[in-house]
């Protein structure tokens, strides 16, 4: 099987590179974007196998991203959101828009791995 392509949108550089390292170790091909605009540009070129995005992103929030992917790009690619606050009002609306899963900050990398593989399995192996 080819490497799964993963788009990681996270504005905190250190966290992003840490997660990238961890995800790559598990055999994903990871592209990091630090702000919403480049995420959008990236998605316009090609849709990855799974998207992980922080809800609070500069220029283009996670909610907008979900909306954009689902309604503009008409893609059902799994989207996992990372939220800074566990009782973020946005989470519910993100979910209504079609986000697949969410994980709260602080992020446990191994938990994220599990969720990613679960979403991938569910989306691609059924």
């Amino acid at each position: 099987m080819d490497k799964r392509k993963l788009l990681l949108a996270e504005d905190d550089q250190m966290l992003a590179s840490l997660l990238k390292y961890r995800l790559e170790r598990d055999g994903y091909e990871v592209v990091i974007e630090f702000d919403g605009r480049s995420v959008k540009e990236n998605l316009e070129v090609a849709i990855p196998d799974i998207v992980i995005s922080d809800i609070m992103m500069p220029y283009f929030s996670g909610i907008e991203l979900v909306d954009y992917v689902r309604n503009k790009l008409n893609s059902d690619v799994p989207i996992i959101l990372i939220s800074a606050a566990s009782n973020d009002e946005n989470i519910v609306s993100a979910f209504e828009m079609g986000a697949n899963d969410f994980i709260a900050k602080p992020v446990s990398p191994s938990e994220l791995m599990v969720r990613v593989s679960r979403e991938i399995k569910r989306h691609y192996c059924t």
């Binding site: 905190d12 550089q13 250190m14 966290l15 590179s17 840490l18 990238k20 390292y21 961890r22 170790r25 566990s86 009782n87 973020d88 009002e89 989470i91 519910v92 979910f95 209504e96 969410f102 709260a104 900050k105 602080p106 992020v107 446990s108 990398p109 191994s110 938990e111 791995m113 599990v114 593989s117 679960r118 399995k121 569910r122 192996c125 059924t126």
Partner: protein, 693 residues
């Protein structure tokens, strides 16, 4: 001055002071220079700031992969990686001699610490100490600048350097408030008994903000068992008393009834109010008498609070008092409040006389009833009272500790509700393997709840939900996420709409969606659907397993197992089999059917409306007994190593094969579904079992 008017000479007597215009010129020059300086400074600072940012950014980029490597390094890595790791270690040692570098790396670790959780976070702390960065923080404690000392304390506590506890403790009564506040937070965060020490020793006031921060810090401690905070209700420090009240409320410690009742008589309004709040939250109905006594001597703010308390605790007996209030009080607000309270207790007692009377009771009042819409207060009080009794006799807590340790070992995702302590989890529902957990875990969670005996009455569920603590709520919702089916929809809807914690709301939404998705899918299945319910024959858990049993042998074994553990819910399933089976299989099916039909006659009725999959053997509490597991393996509930279903995917994470781990296989074969089942459909599948097709 060069004023040369002729008249000037004459009038010098009037003594016009000389104006030194030169001075003004000098001032102008000074201002010009200063202006120029500021101009230069503006750009100097901008450049400095941006250069610093660039430099740090560069260093950060360079360090990021190194730190990631360190954090995820494990001794089992392949040789190359081991080598790389060692090389990086050597390289970083050299760097560490540079002070500015140390600053950057400790800053990176410090920032990262806020964003990561679980095992990575632990390793990060270890790394921090390995690199000896904490020595810098120790040095900061000796600085004479308060902000440096506070920064040092913050670093040490956030990086969980336990050795610093003794040192930091000394700052608890520091004169400088910021240092003191940081020290308080650190003391509480570093050790489990830190809060005891703080409450005992502090002589200073604790601001409200600080109290919130301290509670938040307590919430972060793993396996925290709060002490009985009522001990500090006697403190001399007013703020300690207030804080203790807050903590009692936060940790739901109901044993302090007498002390809290006394505090209502306190002369300080803040303490009074906090105590009243506690009384409402804990339903200390016996405090009503005291409240009524202190009412008349209280300030308006307190009076309103007392009336609110009466509104949620009171009964018809209190109406006399309220009427007295309504007639004697002069303040419009209080009279209005008293009248609305009467109406809350006994609706429609005070009818609108003018066009201005309030009809419904105030919404948004804190008490635990606020989320229930009922008018029938007494009824609610009953429900809650029983809940309270149930909680008191909460299950034994003997096996939890090992349990938790096991979770730690496998890096269980931490409960996400950070505002609450990771309390020991009651074993009753944590150890629940799949089938009984299915319907029953909900009952057990709600526990606790007397109202849900026979049937899953949704309004009772909702009431029950509102009365349980936040921690229980989050556990319940987590469970619902995995197990709920359409009967829980009303409860889920309720949670999704009313819950204040949006993470829970989100989960409820998620569960709702998966239920709603799964229901129509079942209809489209190959078996005829009856309404929104699953087809009868599909309600049996064995239906699903049967679909996956590939050969005759496995089917036979499955049927045998069914005979032992099945109940009448399996009867439709067996009947459906009669039509399609033949030979040996048919015989076994008939046998099983007979046995079950006999069994169901003697069956108690209590469980009849339980979720269909609930196996029969369970005793009333569902805590003990052998229960059928998903794979058809017998599992013993006392088995400490069992992990709940929703964590089964961890098996893959850890490379553990579920079947091998289990010592007591009854079945000689593995079902083909196992892995797929746990991973792929673990959420959707459980409720509707749609993935089984």
């Amino acid at each position: 001055m060069h004023i040369t008017k002729p008249t000037y000479q004459i009038l010098t007597i009037l003594g016009i002071p000389k104006i030194h215009t030169d001075l003004l010129w000098d001032l102008t020059f000074l201002f010009l220079v200063l202006g120029g300086l500021y101009f230069v400074f503006v750009f100097f600072f901008r450049n400095k700031l941006s250069r610093l940012r660039l430099k740090t950014k560069g260093k950060r980029q360079e360090l990021a992969p190194i730190i990631s490597n360190f954090l995820f390094h494990s001794p089992e890595d392949p040789k190359d990686e081991q080598k790389e790791y060692v090389q990086l270690k050597i390289r970083i040692r050299e760097y560490l001699n540079d002070r500015s570098f140390r600053k950057i790396i400790s800053q990176i670790l410090f920032d990262l610490q806020k964003d990561v959780a679980g095992g990575t976070r632990e390793r990060l702390f270890k790394l921090y100490k390995q690199l000896e960065l904490h020595h810098d923080s120790f040095q900061k404690l000796e600085s004479w600048r308060w902000e440096t000392v506070a920064q040092g304390i913050l670093e040490l506590s956030e990086m969980e350097v336990e050795e610093s506890y003794q040192l930091i403790q000394k700052f608890i009564n520091d004169r400088r408030s910021v240092v003191r506040k940081q020290a308080e937070l650190a003391t509480v965060g570093l050790r489990k008994d830190g809060i005891d020490f703080l409450l005992d020793t502090t002589r200073h006031p604790i601001s409200e903000w600080q109290q919130l921060k301290l509670i938040e810090t307590l919430g972060k401690i793993k396996n925290y068992r709060p002490p009985q905070f009522k001990a500090w209700l006697l403190s001399q420090n007013k703020d300690v008393v207030l804080f203790a009240l807050r903590l009692i409320k936060h940790y739901n410690q109901k044993g302090a009834e007498a002390s809290i009742k006394e505090l209502v008589k306190h002369k300080n309004d803040e303490i009074k109010t906090a105590a009243i709040q506690c009384i409402v939250d804990f339903n200390f109905v016996s405090a009503l008498g005291t409240l009524k006594k202190v009412f008349w001597k209280s300030s308006n703010m307190v009076k309103i609070n007392i009336l609110n308390a009466v509104a949620s605790l009171g009964s018809a007996y209190d109406i006399l008092f309220l009427e007295e209030v309504a007639s004697k009080e002069s303040s419009f607000i209080i009279v209005g409040k008293a009248q609305s309270t009467i109406n809350t207790i006994k609706p429609e007692t005070v009818l609108p006389s003018k066009d201005i009377l309030k009809v419904s009771h105030d919404e948004g009042k804190k008490g635990s009833f606020s989320k229930m819409d009922g008018e029938d207060t007494e009824n609610k009080v009953d429900a809650i009272d029983v809940t309270y009794e149930e909680v008191l006799q909460s299950p034994p807590e003997t096996i939890e500790v090992e349990d938790i340790e096991f979770y730690d070992a496998i890096e269980m995702p931490e409960p996400k509700n950070k505002t609450h302590p990771v309390e020991p989890i009651t074993p009753a529902f944590e150890l629940q393997p799949i089938e009984e957990g299915y319907g029953n875990s909900i009952d057990q969670l709600l526990g606790v709840l007397p109202s849900i005996g026979e049937d899953l009455d949704s309004s009772a569920l909702i009431k029950g939900y509102d009365s349980i603590s936040d921690l229980e709520k989050s556990q319940l919702v987590e469970r619902l996420e995995e197990f709920a089916d359409e009967r829980e929809l009303p409860l889920l809807e309720h949670i999704a709409e009313n819950e204040s914690n949006s993470e829970l709301r989100f989960k409820a939404f998620k569960a709702m969606r998966s239920i709603k998705q799964s229901v129509p899918m079942d209809k489209g299945g190959d078996l005829p659907a009856k309404g929104t319910e699953l087809p009868l024959e599909q309600q049996s858990i064995f239906y699903a397993l049967y679909q996956y049993a590939s050969d005759l042998d496995s089917k036979l074994i499955l049927l045998k197992e069914l005979m032992d553990v099945g109940d009448e819910k399996e009867i439709p399933f067996l009947k459906s089999l009669l039509a399609i089976s033949n030979g040996v299989l048919l015989k076994t099916v008939r046998k099983a059917l007979d046995k079950l039909e006999n069994k169901s006659l003697v069956q108690e009725v209590t469980l009849s409306d339980e979720p269909p999959e609930a196996p029969k053997e369970m005793d009333g509490n569902g805590n003990t007994g052998r229960v059928q597991n998903e794979d058809g393996q017998k599992r013993d509930l006392e088995d400490d190593e069992r992990i709940p279903l929703e964590l089964l995917f961890l098996y893959e994470e850890l490379g553990i094969k579920a079947a091998k781990k289990e010592g007591q296989d009854t079945f000689p074969f593995d079902f083909e579904l196992s892995e797929e089942f746990f991973l792929g459909g673990s959420r959707d599948a459980q409720n509707g079992k749609k993935d089984y097709e």
